[in-house]
Amino acid sequence: MSEAVVQRLREHFGEKILESSSFRGDEEVTVDKASYAEVIRFLRDDPETAMDLFGDLTAVDWPEREGPRFDVVVFLRSIEKRHRIRVRVRVADGESVPTLTDIYAGANWAERECFDMFGIRFDGHPDLRRILLYDEFEGHPLRKDYPIDRAQPLVEYREVSDIEKLPPFGIEQGQPFARVDWEARLAGRNKQVSPSLGVHQGQRRMLSDSEIARAERERLKRETPAADAEGSSDGAK
């Protein structure tokens, strides 16, 4: 159904349509950057295409590709004709694309997001600033070369020891719901699972060896008041 749109574009723009493809029923055209805005405007205004609904605008990063690095992809739909098309334009790193804000109002935020995530600039955009991230953020996270585990907190993360109340699980154990103190168990102090020592369960893991020993001594002292505090060592039973 959407082949007609591609056909229509080819008739009207000829060489400016660089490529067209159809995959699993999705029609797509790749256009020349110079005529990109013109093609979108034509798609909206031409009665045969009548793309009145702005679908989406996003980008894809292809760092290993020869030629321009980014694809800016626009999705349009016609409510009346019930067809849709994907328009793609290739952009090199550092280049900018004409804005669509004067054609579709919805492109405003979409382009801001694109700029935010990929660092692609849009010429003539009225208000090109970050939208999902904050101004102090460095880099553009959806680029493939942005490390996925890189964090840029605005406010530094607190040291764990600053927090009074800890979750009842160890962070490193990879067992988010386990109540088992593996560190202690593997070290041979396998009786330390329960909160009977009188400290918060989760803090158990955070205590140093001498603290554990002290807590254990205190517990024994409570349970057997007559016992010699110095004589009872941790876990030796």
Partner: protein, 406 residues
């Protein structure tokens, strides 16, 4: 200070309070902003001259996170997009990958998806309308509608094992077949839910205060709505009968009779009414789907490259063990290519633009969040209105932070 009537005598102008433009920041820590939106308002008295809507407080890097796991591992992330109707997101993503791989889910699975999806849509609209009415001061409807949602959640919990974040979709089907009394359970709650919706309508719709707060507030024209990329109830309230289930049927939606309710002015009242009516239409779809749904048969494709093998086979046969291992460790590998698949989610057209490079990890997963565009149009709906109009406008847009900010 002069008495008021003296001022009125001495000046011909209408009595006006001195109103210099004022900048006011609303949110993110404002109950009506759902904790995730900040609005910077330029006010002239009560009138809104300009507003800068700032999302992003719930940004978690959904699209980036998808690029590091397997294709199946995206499901839990999709749950957290529109967390009011997670099943619809699960299904939307599953359909996208299935479109890429040309997988067709067995017919029973398709009906199962329809029923669960429509239940999730009902839950979505119940919450949306309840919250919107609560924000303008009507607290009772929220409690009643949440009570109704609880019944829906009971069914979803029985089916999926979770109340909110189900992660129940799978590429090629669903995680589990329906429970034996699935149909009875759904049939038992539907009339109760509809009755509650009717009660809420009787309570709210003839209410003068509610009408005054929502009618003619936050309207948008048909043309502008399309320009902004509005979809879902917000677009239909503006008078465009665009519903993906009707216009571009997926699953088995072409087998059901249902209406697409539309409004006229695109104002808060219309959005509220459209959602109310959509609950009834969803119930209609569910009734028909339950009627047509086969009682036996698989819900997932029988394809060892896609679906995990049965657990008892994994433990007893070497083939299933290896298949399980490879699927979990490497993930299944769709053919290289890119597709855009779109479904009707609670807030509108939920699109997944997925790119595969042939490996077990998605190259790119772009979600087209309906909320993002609905919220974008919010600026235009608010300008010229009063400061109190923000609440019903924003409330009936039903911005879901998880989806908007991803």
């Amino acid at each position: 200070m002069e008495p008021l009537d003296e001022i009125l005598e001495t000046t011909n102008d209408l009595l006006e309070l001195p109103a210099e433009p004022m900048r006011l920041v609303m949110g993110p820590s404002h109950p009506a902003m759902h904790g995730t939106i900040r609005m910077v308002l330029d006010l002239k008295g009560e009138e809104i001259l300009d507003v800068d809507v700032q999302p992003g407080y719930l940004h978690r890097g959904f699209e980036k996170s998808c690029e590091r796991g397997t294709w199946q591992q995206v499901f839990p992330y999709t749950d957290r997009l529109n967390y009011v109707s997670p099943i619809l997101n699960n299904i939307g993503y599953a359909l996208a990958v299935e479109k890429l791989c040309e997988i067709e889910v067995p017919i029973r699975g398709q009906y199962y998806r329809v029923v669960l999806g429509e239940l999730a849509r009902i839950a979505d609209h119940l919450v949306s309308n309840g919250a919107a009415s609560m924000e303008v001061g009507a607290f009772t409807p929220l409690l009643w509608l949440l009570k109704a949602r609880e019944w829906v959640f009971d069914v979803l919990e029985a089916e999926t094992g979770a109340r909110v974040t189900h992660s129940f979709g799978r590429i090629g089907g669903m995680a589990m077949p329906p429970t034996p009394n699935f149909k009875e359970n759904v049939r038992a709650i539907l009339p109760k839910v509809l009755e509650t919706v009717q009660e809420v309508e009787d309570l709210l719709v003839p209410n003068r205060i509610f009408m005054d707060r929502t009618q003619g507030v936050g309207g948008i024209s048909k043309e502008r709505a399309l320009q902004y990329g509005l979809t879902g109830p917000c677009l239909r309230a503006a008078g465009v009968p665009y519903d993906v289930r009707k216009d571009n049927p997926y699953l088995v939606y072409d087998r059901f009779e249902f209406e697409v309710p539309i409004g006229e002015d695109g104002d808060a009242w219309d959005r509220f009414s459209v959602r109310l009516e959509e609950i009834r239409q969803s119930a209609r779809i569910i009734e028909q789907a339950l009627e047509q749904m086969p009682d036996s048969g698989p819900v997932s494709v029988d394809d060892p490259r896609v679906m995990l093998p049965e657990k008892n086979e994994v433990y007893t046969t070497i083939e299933a063990t290896i298949a399980h291992f490879k699927l979990v460790m490497e993930g299944f590998k769709p053919p290289p290519g890119e597709v855009y698949s779109f479904t009707e989610a609670g807030n509108g057209e939920l699109g997944f633009y997925i790119i595969s490079d042939g490996s077990g990890t998605p190259y790119r997963v772009r979600v087209r969040p309906p909320c993002f565009y609905n919220l974008h149009a919010c600026r235009e709906m608010l300008i010229g209105g009063n400061i109190a109009d923000i609440i019903p406008t924003f409330g009936t847009i039903n911005m879901i932070g998880g989806e908007c900010d991803r």
